[in-house]
């Protein structure tokens, strides 16, 4: 079972705060981490390897410091890691990202399953997984919450939809995105940490992938960000005062006025 896990290094935005003076994200003290959703993808890859043998290759496209995320992936059980990094990859939208990843997957050769997180914490699109599957011309299943069985070149998985869950069968090789319900990621093992320190992580650039420079990064992106701004939170709410019973009474009055009760 050869598994490829795609992951992205993101700022750990859970603690993100806006500087009220400058209205920008405060980045000091915010570490870059593996996109939390991708940690479930990695863990599931490692579990598949433990069940069926084979190997797990972690792959990331990003700036040189994304190597840190890949080293962490090795400490968490990935056998190999590849960094796709080139100045020309910068500013990629989801299409250009998927195209770059697909080129790297093709260079890597044989695989059975590619696992991605359901979305990233920063970009939040969830589009790279499905776009990657089409570029590789393999099946795709989103929001997988359980891999039930893999046998005879077929996999059977559960995936979450709004109304409940579905059981889907797909032939290998296939691309899936996973949700956090699928597993509880392990902590790095001592052996893993030692291994990650000495792991050789190759860096593949535009010439290594043999891709057309106009198809990657900002140049290869069909979508373009034209404006970035901070949402205005109009804070004009009314906090009721006085004795609790009166406050509840006030609230009832407001809800009645709005025709809601």
């Amino acid at each position: 079972m050869n598994v490829i896990v795609c992951l992205k290094q993101v700022p750990g935005t859970a603690q993100v705060k806006i500087d009220p003076e400058t209205n920008t994200l405060i980045r000091e003290g915010i570490e870059n981490v593996i996109n939390p959703f991708d940690t479930y993808a990695l863990e599931e890859g490692v579990r598949l390897k433990e069940r069926f043998g084979g190997k797990v290759t972690a792959m990331s496209m990003g700036p040189p410091q994304a190597e840190g995320a890949l080293r962490e992936a090795v400490s968490l059980g990935a056998d190999e890691a590849i960094l796709l990094s080139d100045k020309a990859f910068a500013g990629a939208d989801t299409w250009a990202t998927a195209y770059t990843l697909a080129s790297a997957v093709n260079k890597l050769g044989q695989y059975d399953i590619i696992i991605c997180g359901r979305q990233t914490l920063d970009g939040d699109t969830g589009q790279v997984g499905p776009e990657l599957s089409e570029m590789l011309e393999v099946p795709f299943v989103a929001y997988v919450s359980r891999i039930e069985e893999i046998a005879d070149g077929q996999m059977r998985v559960q995936r979450m939809v709004e109304e409940g869950h579905e059981v889907i069968e797909a032939p290998l090789p296939t691309v899936i995105t996973v949700v956090k319900e699928i597993n509880v990621p392990r902590l790095p093992s001592l052996r893993g940490i030692v291994k990650s320190k000495s792991a050789v992580i190759p860096v593949w650039t535009v010439p290594d992938l043999g891709v057309d420079q106009s198809r990657v990064g900002l140049a290869g992106s069909f979508t373009k960000v034209i404006k970035v701004f901070f949402p205005q939170r109009v804070c004009q709410g009314e906090i009721f005062q006085g004795e609790l019973g009166n406050q509840v009474e006030c609230l009832m009055g407001k809800l009645k006025d709005a025709g809601l009760v």
Binding site: D19, T22, M135, L244, L251, A258
Partner: protein, 393 residues
């Protein structure tokens, strides 16, 4: 390719520093310096009054063909029933079509859907209806290929779909094959009339930052849109439109995946994505059993029960109740947040609700920043009082 700062032109005014959403610019020795991590968003370039910042893109010189006309809305259904987001998209689509002076079409795949006429009443000029028993259940492989075929044939300039689990899974595959841009999870859409471009606004960084995105060189321009962000129009039963039946050619389409079974989540009495009122609980409830308080309030109000991610992670209530960035986006008439502090990820999923009521004993909880009405107090006292008053009226 990339960003370049012309230090000869830079006067060190610092105007660019505060506009960088990622805080990557600083003034060192009266000149601007850029730290690692630039996404080439262009905010600084716009702010610089001295043309010292240059973002070079090898832009694809490809004229957009004028043959692409019209706006399409993918009208999602489940079990033969159209989803609310289909009507919401038609309302927005109608507005965009009027601005562009073009047609609005709905595209619907399914079997035996009797509400197809309603798509016209809600604003569509045309409905492309592909009806087949094969399409009764949501078969993403079939949907993707069928939609690609129709888009190639009719060449719309804009395609909108709901950012539901179906839409977010299969629309990117359509965009990948059509080699066109797709913007996920939009919360705002409008038209740059001068250039006939769709301006797509979406939250990123868990709702901390908004980005406006365009797709200049490719058609169609595609977006997925969060449910409950746009309001549906009142239906106009007198509206005239055309229903175009399209044959489904099963043989020409290959399906790689197979749906074996569907298990419905039965814990919900009222679905949160459709509810007018949501009573939502967070960690302040203390334990799973205390959700009973909220269920009682919800039942007298005819409301659905929502939850923060924290309590779903604790296992107090199933995931289908989760509101927020990784749960559901809701926009009810009334959202009552009980014991929810209001992390940005939660706010991202509910802050467009018409009226937000926050009940929390911590006056500094961020939920009060978005609340229309707030009660600073013990939810274990406030909620039963509210339930009691509602019962007695």
């Amino acid at each position: 390719m990339g960003i370049q700062i012309d230090l000869d032109k830079c006067v060190g005014c610092g105007d660019c520093v505060p506009v960088c959403p990622f805080g990557l610019l600083e003034i060192v020795d009266d000149k601007v310096q850029l730290k690692e991590g630039c996404t080439l968003c262009g905010a600084c370039q716009e702010a610089c009054g001295y043309e010292a910042i240059l973002i070079e893109a090898v832009s694809e010189v490809e004229a957009v063909s004028d043959s692409h006309q019209g706006i399409w809305v993918f009208a999602e259904q489940r079990n033969g029933k159209l989803k609310g987001v289909a009507y919401e998209l038609l309302a927005k689509g109608r507005e965009l079509a009027n601005t562009l002076q073009t047609d609005l079409s709905a595209v619907c795949f399914g079997h035996g859907i009797d509400e197809v006429n309603r798509l016209i009443a809600h604003g569509a000029d045309k409905v492309y209806m592909v009806d087949s028993p094969d399409l009764a259940i949501n078969q993403e492989d079939l949907y993707a290929q069928q939609l690609i075929e129709l888009i190639r044939q009719h060449k719309p300039e804009i395609v909108l779909a709901g950012a539901t689990s179906l839409g977010r899974a299969f629309i990117p595959r359509v965009a990948a094959i059509l080699k066109t841009g797709l913007t996920a999870d939009c919360t705002g859409l409008d038209i740059d009339t001068e250039n006939r471009l769709l301006r797509q606004t979406r939250p990123t960084f868990g709702g901390n930052i908004m980005a406006t995105i365009i797709c200049q060189t490719k058609r169609p321009q595609m977006s997925t849109v969060r449910p409950r962000v746009f309001k549906k129009n009142e239906p106009d039963e007198k509206r005239k439109g055309q229903i175009i039946k399209v044959d489904f050619n099963r043989e020409s389409i290959t399906s790689k995946t197979k749906l074996l079974n569907f298990v419905e989540d039965l814990t919900e009495t009222v679905k949160i994505e459709e509810a007018d009122i949501i009573v939502s609980g967070g960690r302040g409830l203390g334990k799973a059993e205390n959700f009973q308080l909220l269920r009682e309030l919800a039942s007298v109000m005819g409301a659905a029960v929502g939850a923060s991610r924290a309590v779903v992670d604790e296992g107090w209530i199933p995931y289908s109740h989760q509101v927020g960035q990784t749960g559901k986006t809701v926009c009810p008439k009334l959202y009552i947040a009980c014991g929810i502090s209001g992390a940005v990820q939660h706010l991202a999923g509910m802050q467009t609700s018409d009226i937000i009521v926050a009940i929390n004993d911590n006056p500094n909880a961020p939920i009060f920043e978005v609340a229309t009405f707030g009660i600073v107090g013990d939810l274990f006292k406030v909620v039963p009082m509210l339930t009691e008053k509602l019962k007695n009226q």
